[in-house]
């Protein structure tokens, strides 16, 4: 009798390992059931009692993919170009032109930003030290520095995203770096997409900027207004001295005007006051100056886009004085006449203080008017600066700007020495909470764009689990029946091995902390069908050998040894495609590749070793397996 002992030990070891790996999954299922059965105080008590175990079970259980749990998957791409833009100094037209070029090219093709960026400089023969580093540094040194800074920026962005997601309290989030500048964020169970997007994308650039004097603000608005009507003083002299450029300039002015009015300039014959006003003061028709003299302008919500585009035009930008910038209010306000309007603020271009000094933020409620606010605390250096700034600007207004939008612009009442400040102007407590998270985690070093977003609702997830389970069960039942019918007891042994097969697949997945997805379940179902193959190869061979005249034992042994080559070769090739699929696929498809590969390995093990051992034991004990 051949010594079956080593093989038996191997099998038992494999089974034991699988059970050990799968135990936390069972535990987790159990705990959840217990918690659901209890209510209120009881469940809290139970939770505290078994806290560590429950956490442990959760960590080690088989994870369900987003397509089975429901949730969101977002791929962020760090805007390294903007990052480089922010790093640069002495930016001139050449620089801006290069940035524009790179942006256009990078939007359509799959090029890495930094090499392209550097190449553009080299093509024009401009040294990098004009804009980066110090004069003495050569291109190679600056390139290395930029490369290093870019990588650090992406890593910092990942940390900040991780920080924000942690505070948002998602269970089992998954955050990974992909390639040079992409971040994959998987958030199971998340329902509010808008919140998540705000959470991930807000750069959280916080700035405190002084408002410009109201008179200056109005004067600039008047200048724009006059420009649009073509009546800008000094315009005629400038035009006369450059007649060659006069035509395009005038055309640009007309374009700007029609952009603002949407091409619906009133006919010259129209003499209503409105029409006359529109013709004479096109800018003020859309931007109503605050009557109280604060220097702000009010713009109807429906007109905001037009004014935004107008203000972006280079001809209009040129009309602005130095250290001057228009910034919009973050939210629109509903006025007494029922119209929603945004505010346009005139602020200094340089910030007095930035968010880097904020060390703590807390969402709260203003005791006076019950509206949501966020209280902020600064570090010692920030507090000193803040005291100086507030002290020097009493009765002036400071705008609190987050991501280039003004949240509020309160008047400085007194010098603030405690390093405290607050942000108001949010609509809901949830918004305040998001702001708190984002301020605490810190500002992203560069903006991130969402280039891919997938979300699965929980109901689809549940349906998918149900379909997955029922198809697996059905496949199992049909296969088992068939094997027994066709190969009799030989088939029953194969079925027995199949069950081990499934145990091993689940065990290995639990061991690797792999994620089970719906295509992954399809992979298991497929494995059930394919696992049969190895058994069929062996059984068919055994039949042949028996027909050839061998004894049962000899036929069994011959069957296994002769079939082995075929089993091995055919399974390896399918395994190879599994590897390729794992490399290529994302998310759910990777889950399929994983179960396919594990399934193949497991089915080879159970078909070749387990069934062989069983047959040998059977024949030793005198039980004759029948191969039909």
């Amino acid at each position: 009798m051949r010594n079956q002992l080593p093989r038996i030990i191997l099998i038992i070891a494999a089974v034991a390992l699988s059970i050990v790996f799968l135990w936390p999954t069972y535990q987790d299922y159990n705990y959840r059931r217990q918690l659901n059965a209890r209510h209120g105080q009881d469940s809290v008590a139970y939770l505290e009692q078994h806290q560590d175990d429950i956490l442990n079970a959760k960590l080690k259980r088989i994870k369900l993919g987003l397509d089975l749990q429901g949730g969101m998957r977002v791929v962020l791409e760090v805007d390294l170009l903007q990052f480089l833009d922010d790093l640069a100094k002495n930016k001139d037209d050449n620089f801006l032109a290069i940035v524009r070029d790179v942006r256009n090219e990078a939007a359509t093709s799959e090029v890495t930003v930094l090499p392209l960026f550097i190449r553009k400089f080299q093509e024009r023969g401009i040294r990098l030290s004009r804009y980066f580093g110090s004069i003495r540094d050569d291109d190679a040194k600056i390139t290395a520095m930029l490369q290093d800074e870019s990588e650090k920026a992406v890593d910092r962005a990942i940390e900040i995203v991780r920080n924000r997601v942690d505070q948002y309290r998602v269970s089992e989030p998954n955050i990974q770096k992909q390639g040079g500048r992409r971040i994959i964020v998987e958030l199971p169970g998340v329902k509010d997409e808008n919140e998540v997007r705000q959470l991930l994308q807000g750069t959280a650039k916080l700035e405190f900027r002084l408002l410009k004097d109201p008179q200056i603000s109005y004067r600039v608005m008047e200048t724009i207004d006059k420009y649009l009507t073509g009546k800008l003083e000094g315009d005629s002299t400038a035009a006369a001295s450059a007649t060659a450029e006069k035509k395009p300039e005038a055309q640009k002015q007309r374009d700007a005007l029609s952009e603002l009015t949407g091409g619906t300039a009133p006919a010259a014959a129209d003499t209503t006051t409105e029409a006359r006003f529109l013709r004479e003061h096109p800018f003020f028709s859309y931007v109503h100056p605050d009557q109280r003299g604060s220097g702000e302008g009010y713009v109807d919500a429906k007109d905001k886009d037009r004014v935004v585009r107008l203000l972006e035009r280079p001809e209009v930008q040129r009309l602005l004085p130095p250290d001057f910038q228009f910034v919009w209010s973050a939210k629109s306000q509903q006025f007494a006449d029922g119209v929603k309007r945004f505010m346009l603020f005139a602020v200094r271009q340089t910030a007095e203080l930035t968010g880097g000094v904020v060390v703590d933020a807390r969402a709260s409620v203003d005791p006076e008017d019950n509206r949501p606010i966020v209280n902020m605390e600064m570090n010692s250096e920030g507090s000193r600066d803040w005291a100086r700034i507030t002290g020097a600007n009493i009765n002036k207004r400071i705008a609190i700007i987050l991501d280039n939008a003004v949240y509020s612009a309160p008047v400085v009442q007194t010098k603030i020495t405690g390093g405290r400040s607050r942000i108001t102007g949010m609509e809901t407590p949830n918004e305040a909470r998001l702001l708190e998270i984002v301020l605490k985690a810190g500002a992203l070093p560069a903006p991130v764009a969402i280039i891919e977003q997938r979300s699965v609702g929980p109901s689809l997830g549940e349906d998918s689990i149900r379909s997955g389970l029922s198809s697996t069960l059905l496949a199992l039942v049909m296969t088992v029946l068939f094997m027994v019918l066709y190969y009799h007891s030989g088939g029953a042994v194969a079925d027995f091995a199949l069950l081990f097969n499934i145990l091993f697949i689940m065990g290995v997945m639990a061991g690797f902390q792999a994620t089970l997805t719906l295509p992954g379940i399809a992979g298991i179902v497929l494995t059930i069908g394919m696992a049969v193959d190895a058994n069929v190869l062996v059984n068919e061979r055994i039949r042949e050998e028996m027909e050839g005249g061998k004894t049962l034992r000899a036929a069994i042994d011959a069957g296994y040894s002769k079939a082995f080559a075929a089993i091995f070769d055919s399974n390896i090739t399918t395994f190879l495609t599994g590897i390729v699929l794992y490399q290529f696929g994302t998310g759910p498809v990777q889950g399929f590749a994983l179960t396919l590969m594990i399934g193949i390995a497991a089915s080879m093990f159970s078909a070749i070793i387990i069934t062989h051992v069983v047959f040998n034991i059977m024949t030793d004990k005198g039980v004759i397996p029948n191969f039909g």
Binding site: D67, T108, E193, R197, Q201, I450, I451, E452, Q453, R454, S455, V456, G457, S459, L460, D463, G468, S470, S471, L474, A475, M478, T479, F482, L485, Y486, Y487, H488, L518, P519, I521, A522, V525, L526, G529, M530, D533, V536, L537, E540, A565, A566, D569, S570, N571, T573, T574, L576, T577, G578, V580, L581, Q583, F584, G585, T586, P588, V589, F592, A593
Partner: protein, 304 residues
């Protein structure tokens, strides 16, 4: 139970005929690919795709009217699984998820008295779409090369070549089949998604599986029957393995039918593609791979 007694079918004698059939099938497939084309899921095209479940039955027509109002009337709209679920796919690109939001708003305005649930929402930027297309192509090419290499090593180079030609045949015919049947069967969604590409790669693996078992038997029989001419050895091997081939392909096919009917909407395209692939895979192992090797051998013999 035994389905097949000892068979002695001469498979290879009719192979000329089957070469014609194979070429015809591939030609039809290719023609369909170039004329009707295939429907790419947004994985590969980029855009926004929503699956919405309404509280009761909704007409695709009405959904299109709603989308027309926001300028998205040319989006693809079809039912998804049941007549209450609608799949909307638009290739328009916009910042973040504005397209998705606009669609949801439009639906709300058009059907104010029906509630709907968003089952699934995907937004793929243009770059990702391009990358996935490229990755899919690489995946198929790499797996073919890997398999050809492995078989060339374990058997002979000719066999590797034969296997690859069989794979190419299977991939093209299946693509053609998907193209022809796209939109023909109601309720069956045959868009090319990542899962479908996974089905193709699996089909490559399983088809080769089949081919390898036959090649293995040929190798074994060659050693035993040294004096037999190759095509007779091949025929014998094909007959020897026939029962196994049919049973294995049969069980996998059965399992795929179960997956098709019960495995959920997501797995449907996968199951259908792979199911068809199994059939062509089995066929090609005999009439493409083995036939090729037999003919190549004959050609070499004639030359020498």
């Amino acid at each position: 139970m035994r389905l097949f007694k000892k068979t002695t079918i001469d498979f290879l004698v009719k192979r000329r005929f089957w070469y014609l059939v194979s070429s015809a099938m591939m030609a039809v497939g290719v023609v369909s690919l170039f004329t009707k084309g295939i429907s790419l899921g947004i994985d590969f095209r980029g855009g926004t795709e929503l699956v919405v479940a309404f509280s009761d039955r909704v007409e695709v027509r009405d959904v299109r009217i709603a989308l027309d109002k926001i300028g998205l009337g040319r989006s693809e709209i079809k039912s998804y699984g049941s007549d209450r679920n609608i799949l909307i796919r638009s290739t328009e690109q916009a910042e973040g998820t504005t397209i998705g939001d606009r669609i949801k708003d439009a639906l709300q305005k058009q059907f104010p008295d029906k509630k709907f649930d968003v089952l699934k929402e995907d937004k793929i930027g243009p770059k990702i779409g391009k990358e996935l297309r490229r990755d899919a192509l690489y995946a198929i090419i790499w797996s073919m090369l890997a398999i050809m290499g492995y078989i060339a090593i374990r058997f002979k180079f000719t066999y590797g070549l034969g296997a690859v030609i069989a794979i190419v045949h299977d991939v093209f015919t299946t693509f053609g089949f998907l193209s022809i049947l796209n939109g023909v069967i109601p309720g069956l969604n045959l868009d090319i998604t990542q899962e479908v590409i996974a089905a193709f790669l699996t089909l490559i693996g399983v088809s080769v599986n089949d081919t390898v078992v036959i090649f293995d038997r040929i190798r074994e029989n060659e050693k035993i029957y040294r004096s037999m001419p190759l095509d007779k050895v091949m025929n014998k091997s094909l007959n020897d393995t026939l029962s196994r081939t049919i049973i294995t392909s049969g069980t996998i096919f059965l399992v795929l039918v179960i997956l098709l009917l019960f495995g959920g909407e997501v797995n449907r395209g996968f199951a259908f593609t792979l199911g068809f692939g199994i059939v062509t895979g089995t066929y090609s192992s005999i009439y493409v791979a083995s036939a090729f090797v037999a003919d190549w051998n004959l050609l070499r013999k004639k030359k020498s």
